[in-house]
Amino acid sequence: MNRENAIAILLLTILVFLFPQLTTDNYILTVGIFIGINSIVAIGLTILMGYAGQISLGQAGFYGIGAYVSAILSLSYGLPVMLSIITAIAVASIAATLLAIPSLRLKGHYLAVATLGFGEIIHIIINEWGPGGPSGFGDIPHFSIFGYTLQSTVEYFYLIWICIILIMIFSLNLLNSMTGKALRAIHDSEIATLTLGINITFLKIKVFVLSAVYASLAGALYAHYVTFLSPSGFSLFYSVLVLMMVVIGGISNIWGGIAGAIIITILPEVLRGFKEFDILMYGLILTLSLLFMRKGIVPMVIDVFRNKFLIKIRKNDA
């Protein structure tokens, strides 16, 4: 990981640990938890789209698999929560592999529709066969580790954001490694990458599975935090929402996933004040943001920062 990212991770860690000290407002912490859950999914999609150049409209499917499998295993089969989460992630990765092998032959819009189809099929399956059907089911066990069960909002806040820190460290390491460079290389020239002995398809499948692992982890955390699941949260709408987070946050930078998740999660909360106008305002803000912040928030902030910084250096030189 390079120095800027190491500093950013350090700052994030400090912020995560300070945040609950600064505010005791459980509502803000709850929003923080949902930002975190969305971030995990968005980080995965950023890597998939921004670095592997593949689009997915099926993240809700993996998110749903993670949530439902983990919830069912721990509730109906009495598996320890940690074990059920790991199993859920394994199931999601198998599903992702099976989907990726035929799908990644597809390009652009075709890939988008194939993943969309997968997500919708998962949605229909949990709607038809999931416990409780469309009405959903509750009383899912809380998250517990080494016999300690997490109850309070603060604990979940820490849990989820520690997960994010670990995920970011892993992802940044990965992107800085040979594998990450190879992914960036594919973007510039797929043919050249192939002739250098890199199995692009295999690499893309791995990244696809990675994004599914993240999404399913987020789903499982969601299930054990809210302790209630119904299919409505796992529809295409969620996939599109995550896509929006990634694009608004900035597809070319992995931190964009978190930035996008913050905006897209907080926006409806802020717009509560607008009552009926909220969906109107929401659409308007999204349109304007996309039109005028084309690169996304994080790359744009970096640009602004760099320009300021570089100008200063030049002045000093003169």
Partner: protein, 295 residues
């Protein structure tokens, strides 16, 4: 036999709308390579504005009909000029597609604000009893829907093959750079494609509303189904969208009739996935053409 016929009629009705939405996708796709995910919203605009002019303002049918199409065209025009045109030069497809999603949310917000959340409907185009056909029943409005779809297909075929403008638009779909060098005003073509696709969407909305009602948030579902139809048939090919739309509609009806209605969407999607895995460019799509385009 009667059962099968009845299922087919049901499939044709829903399939017509999917096909129209799919054609709308194709027209915009051909000139810009993007998928206009606000396409379904134009179907809703068609249905709701028609109600507004016909029932709300009490205008005669033909006036309401023309005004509705005009409204849709203007909204399509505004949308293209304000949001797509400034982005087109940079050519960031993903960004443009996300903008169409944002616009669809915006349109939905405006429609909700104006019309509320209730469903709307108006009388069928022609009064009269449903027609009995070998024991299966088909309403007159269903015939209208199918008829309008067929008419659209014929008119579009004539437009794209027999008129100068239409040919220019086709040229753009084959090679946009070459078209530009040939002196075709690409910006105008893009604008026109948005207007045509909006009008087609609105037409679908006008025709289907007496059967299936219309409410402000129906658009998203129609967009998804139309998208699937267009992809299944092969993006950019209108006959593909028609085949895709009708196949999805009929598949849904047959699954509902013979297997189980809870899985009708799932089975239609599974078959679509299967087709894509076997033919990655859709039924009528050409793999060679796909290679030339980035999306």
């Amino acid at each position: 036999m009667t059962l099968l016929l009845q299922f087919l009629f049901s499939g044709l009705t829903t399939g017509s709308v999917y096909a129209l939405v799919g054609i709308g996708f194709n027209i915009v796709y051909n000139s810009t390579s993007i998928i206009n995910l606000a396409q379904g919203e134009f179907v809703v605009i068609g249905g709701l504005m028609m109600w507004f002019f016909l029932e709300g303002m009490q205008f005669p049918f033909s006036v309401s009909f023309s005004l509705t199409l005009l409204t849709a065209a203007v909204i399509g025009l505004i949308m293209e000029r304000l949001t797509i045109k400034p982005l087109l030069k940079k050519g960031d497809l993903l960004l443009m597609i996300m903008v169409t999603i944002a616009i669809s949310i915006l349109i939905r917000g405006i429609l909700m604000f104006k019309f509320g959340k209730d469903p709307y409907t108006y009388p069928a185009f022609t009064e009269g009893e449903p027609i009995n056909f070998y024991g299966a029943v088909i309403t007159q409005q269903t015939l209208w829907v199918i008829g309008i779809t067929v008419l659209c297909i014929i008119l579009l075929y004539l437009f794209f093959n027999k008129t100068m403008t239409g040919r220019a638009m086709r040229a753009c779909s084959i090679n946009i750079r070459a078209a530009r060098l040939m002196g075709i005003n690409v910006s105008k073509v893009v604008m026109l494609s948005f207007i045509i696709s909006s009008v087609i969407g609105a037409l679908g909305g006008i025709a289907i509303t007496p059967i299936s009602l219309m409410e402000y948030d129906k658009g998203a579902m129609l967009s998804v189904k139309g998208f699937c139809a267009a992809i299944m048939g092969g993006l950019g090919r209108n006959r593909g969208a028609v085949a895709g739309g009708f196949s999805i509609g009929i598949l849904e009806a047959l699954t509902a009739g013979y297997i189980h209605s809870g899985f009708k969407d799932a089975i239609a999607l599974l078959i679509m996935l299967f087709i894509l895995f076997v033919k990655p460019a859709g039924i009528f799509g050409k793999a060679e053409i796909m290679k030339l385009r980035k999306f």
